[in-house]
């Protein structure tokens, strides 16, 4: 692999992982804002409206970061992966254009109304805008996952005489069996992230003794919704997504699980360090036969190990294995913490249990890590393929762009993103410090807008 390809990969890895920190919250938070506005419209309770406004302010900043870090993604296919783009543009261009036409226009138009239009449109239209923004965010996520799913499991394409591929069956592309469980897993992960962010913010307010009503609402909503989606990450979305990997990419599954040897009654490794020279797990803690059961529903079924595949078709073992175990480990922690939260809520002890609020607050970074780890499994685990079975990663890079250029722009992105990240965090913390507008006690009249400090 040449230096230029290494630089291209580093740049794409960096820009996509940084980018995803924002849309994961955009996709997860938009349904919460729509839900809060629905609750307000249904009950007339102004605390929901105030909560919706607070989260909309965070959402606007987060959305802007998602937009500015997202624009380079679409163009990088052409700049750094020109051969891939020529090869696969006839297919992946479709889903990317579908995203622009059916999701971005919807999302950006009605976000304008959501942010700027509260005193220009009726409450119902404003509520509708929040629903449409959420719809746009979720549709956008689908088309991106459909694009990725095609690279994981190419379907609906035909090969032209010049060797490039193009769309042959539109509905096969959208109905890709790989896409739907992957999409459900991604969206469930996004909503879980937003729920944990919400619960952590509410926990902070309760611990600090500020904005108690809003804090209780946020913690309750975050914990209850979060518990549901934490479970959904495991089953059905995670489980069925893994089955797709087993069917379509068995070598990735063996890598994720650190299974070197093909065997009946394969064990599930909970902990352990894969050693690629000795081809075994060091210092493992395993549950015997469980992997066979999870994969095939039979404790004695044979699961193929890495040894069955030539070395040049195996993904990088360590990164894939560790990323997968980090994701699953964190997912288990989320289930435990959030179910404990549901139990406390059931016993009406939730807002008072300060030790638990501290746990919720400390949990804030982990859904981000879990989401990034999950995508690492999907992408690194796909190697050495760029398009599974059709195009290897080094073959996809731009022939004219040299390593020095890409390193220059990578450093540029790194500098810009570091600066933007710091400013973003600073501004979000300011919004949190200001807090939501307090609803006036026993308020019958509609709540005042957030005090405008401009």
């Amino acid at each position: 692999m040449t230096d230029a390809v290494v630089a291209d990969r580093l740049q794409f890895t960096f820009t996509i992982m940084y980018h995803y920190l924002f849309p994961v919250l955009t996709m997860g938070l938009a349904p919460f804002i729509a839900a809060l506005k629905t609750l307000h419209l249904a009950s007339g309770d102004v605390q929901y409206a105030a909560a919706a406004r607070f989260w909309t302010r965070i959402f606007a900043l987060n959305f802007a970061m998602g937009v500015v870090t997202g624009i380079p993604m679409e163009f990088q296919f052409g700049t750094n992966w020109a051969t891939f783009s020529t090869f696969a543009g006839g297919v992946v261009g479709q889903t990317l254009a579908l995203e622009g036409v059916f999701a971005f226009f919807l999302e950006s138009s009605f976000l304008g109304i959501l942010l700027f239009g509260e005193d220009r449109v009726s409450p119902r239209f404003h509520w509708l805008s929040s629903i449409l923004v959420a719809a746009g965010a979720l549709i956008s996520g689908f088309f991106i996952v459909a694009t990725n799913a095609w690279m994981q499991h190419p379907v609906g394409y035909a090969v032209a005489p010049d060797g490039t591929v193009h769309l042959d069956n539109f509905w096969a592309l959208l109905g890709n069996p790989f896409a739907w469980w992957q999409y459900a897993h991604v969206i469930s992960g996004a909503i879980l992230t937003a729920a944990i962010v919400m619960a952590a913010t509410g926990a902070y307010y309760l611990l600090a003794g500020k904005h108690a009503a809003f804090g209780r609402l946020s913690v309750t909503m975050g914990v209850l919704v979060g518990a549901v989606f934490a479970l959904m990450q495991l089953f059905p979305t995670g489980d069925l997504n893994s089955r797709n990997v087993l069917i379509y990419q068995p070598v990735k599954l063996a890598t994720m699980e650190g299974l070197f040897r093909t065997q009946p009654g394969a064990p599930l490794a909970i902990i352990g360090m894969p050693d690629t020279t000795q081809e075994r797990l060091l210092d493992p803690v395993v549950v015997p036969d469980l992997l066979s059961y999870l994969a095939y529903g039979d404790f004695h079924a044979t699961v193929r190990g890495l040894g069955d595949y030539p070395r040049d078709l195996r993904p990088p073992v360590q990164i894939t294995y560790y990323a997968y175990h980090i994701m699953v480990g964190l997912g288990t922690v989320f289930i435990a913490v959030l179910l404990l939260g549901v139990l406390l809520w059931w016993r009406r002890a939730l807002p008072g249990a300060r030790w638990f609020l501290w746990i919720l607050l400390a949990q804030l970074p982990f859904p981000y890590i879990a989401n990034e780890a999950g995508w690492t499994v999907a992408e690194v685990g796909r190697q050495p393929w760029l398009v599974y079975g059709l195009l290897r990663t080094p073959q996809g890079a731009s022939p004219t762009v040299v390593a020095a250029e890409t390193i220059f722009t990578l450093l540029g992105f790194a500098g810009i993103y570091a600066l933007l990240g710091l400013i973003f965090l600073y501004l979000v913390l300011r919004i949190v410090a200001e807090g939501p507008a307090e609803a006036p006690a026993g308020s019958a009249p509609p709540a005042p807008a957030i005090p405008v400090e401009h």
Partner: protein, 338 residues
């Protein structure tokens, strides 16, 4: 089918140039027309609800190019590597400047983002023109069908002239938008600038037309073959001629539509002149990327056309809804976001 997609791409690019063009122009003028914090807030709130949607036209154009002409997308974007990356960074700076500025009430903070917003808009308007100039003049393809965009030839006199023209015409278009949205001193300055920039636009348009025929003499070929295409340059010319009349009568919306007509008419004329080339070669015409050697097969283009039609209808509905909701002049109030 490839011709239809050529027209769709031209349409998307015109949509982008007309719509994001005015908010880029507003940005390029912002430091001069808006002096106080309040005036700058009016400027940002004037484009606030729409600039992001306008930028989506660029995203959709890029993706449509990707799906319909993958080879052009790949060759052009990797060829123009560094300039394109700089454009992306400018787009990023512009986006965050708009969104970050209003969070802190502090003259240093706001002043810094005002400069970022102005500079990024200014340079983008310039850069788009330089890029368009290089596409019209053609690029030096190598034997593999790729090229490397080096600054030493990207910054040629013709492309720089096109860049200057792009900056001037978009600023003029932006001044018209401000005339529609602003009041008071801001309106007066924008109104004055619109008149001054009209003269400059007209002057540069003449110079650039002459330079374009020198750079690409074959541009008239299609107009001879299909005289109906002359409607595009005619539209641009009529709009340019009518603009000062509406402007003088303070018919601000009509004047804005005129500058939109000039921008759209000129781009449509250029596209009509370039057809069937998408990315012409500067030396060996057989290496040009055109409809026959760069288009995806009809199997891929037909379904895309079928979903594009309802998509564009929906998009028209959203855009009409947004522009209707925010019609009228900007008044700073309690729910102005910026």
């Amino acid at each position: 089918m490839a011709t239809v997609w050529f027209a769709i791409l031209a349409g998307l690019l015109i949509g982008y140039a007309v719509l994001d063009g005015f908010d880029l122009g507003v940005g390029a003028l912002s430091l001069w027309v808006a002096r106080t914090d309040e005036e700058r807030r009016v400027v940002l709130n004037a484009i606030g609800p729409v600039w992001d949607g306008n930028e989506v036209w660029l995203i959709v154009w890029g993706a449509a190019l990707f799906l319909a002409f993958p080879r052009v997308y790949a060759v052009a974007f990797s060829g123009f590597y560094l300039p394109l990356m700089i454009a992306l960074w400018l787009l990023m700076g512009r986006g965050v400047a708009i969104e970050f500025r209003h969070h802190i009430q502090d003259p240093l903070w706001r002043g810094a983002w005002d400069v970022v917003f102005w500079l990024s808009s200014f340079l983008l308007a310039l850069l788009y023109g330089v890029a368009a100039g290089n596409v019209v003049a053609g690029v030096p393809f190598d034997a593999r069908g790729y090229f490397q965009g080096l600054f030493e030839w990207l910054l040629n006199p013709y492309a720089l002239l096109m860049g200057l023209f792009s900056l001037v015409i978009l600023s003029w278009h932006g001044a018209h938008y401000l005339c529609v949205k602003a009041e008071g001193h801001l309106y007066e300055r924008a109104h004055w600038l619109a008149r001054a920039l009209w003269g400059l636009t007209a002057l540069l348009a003449v110079a650039l037309t002459a330079a374009t025929f020198a750079a690409r003499p074959t541009l008239m070929r299609n107009f001879h073959a299909v005289p109906a295409l002359l409607i595009f340059p005619a539209l641009a010319l009529a709009s340019l001629a009518l603009a000062p009349w509406y402007h003088g009568r303070q018919a601000d919306r009509a004047a804005f539509l005129c500058s939109a007509g000039v921008v759209g008419g000129l781009l449509a004329s250029t596209a009509a002149g370039l057809y069937p080339d998408l990315l012409p070669s500067s030396h060996d015409a057989s290496r040009s990327l055109n409809l026959t050697n760069a288009a995806a097969p009809p199997d891929a283009l037909l379904p895309a056309l079928l979903w594009m039609i309802p998509g564009v209808l929906l998009l028209a509905i959203y855009q009409v809804a947004v522009y209707r909701v925010f019609a009228g002049r900007v008044v700073l109030g309690k729910s102005t976001h910026y």
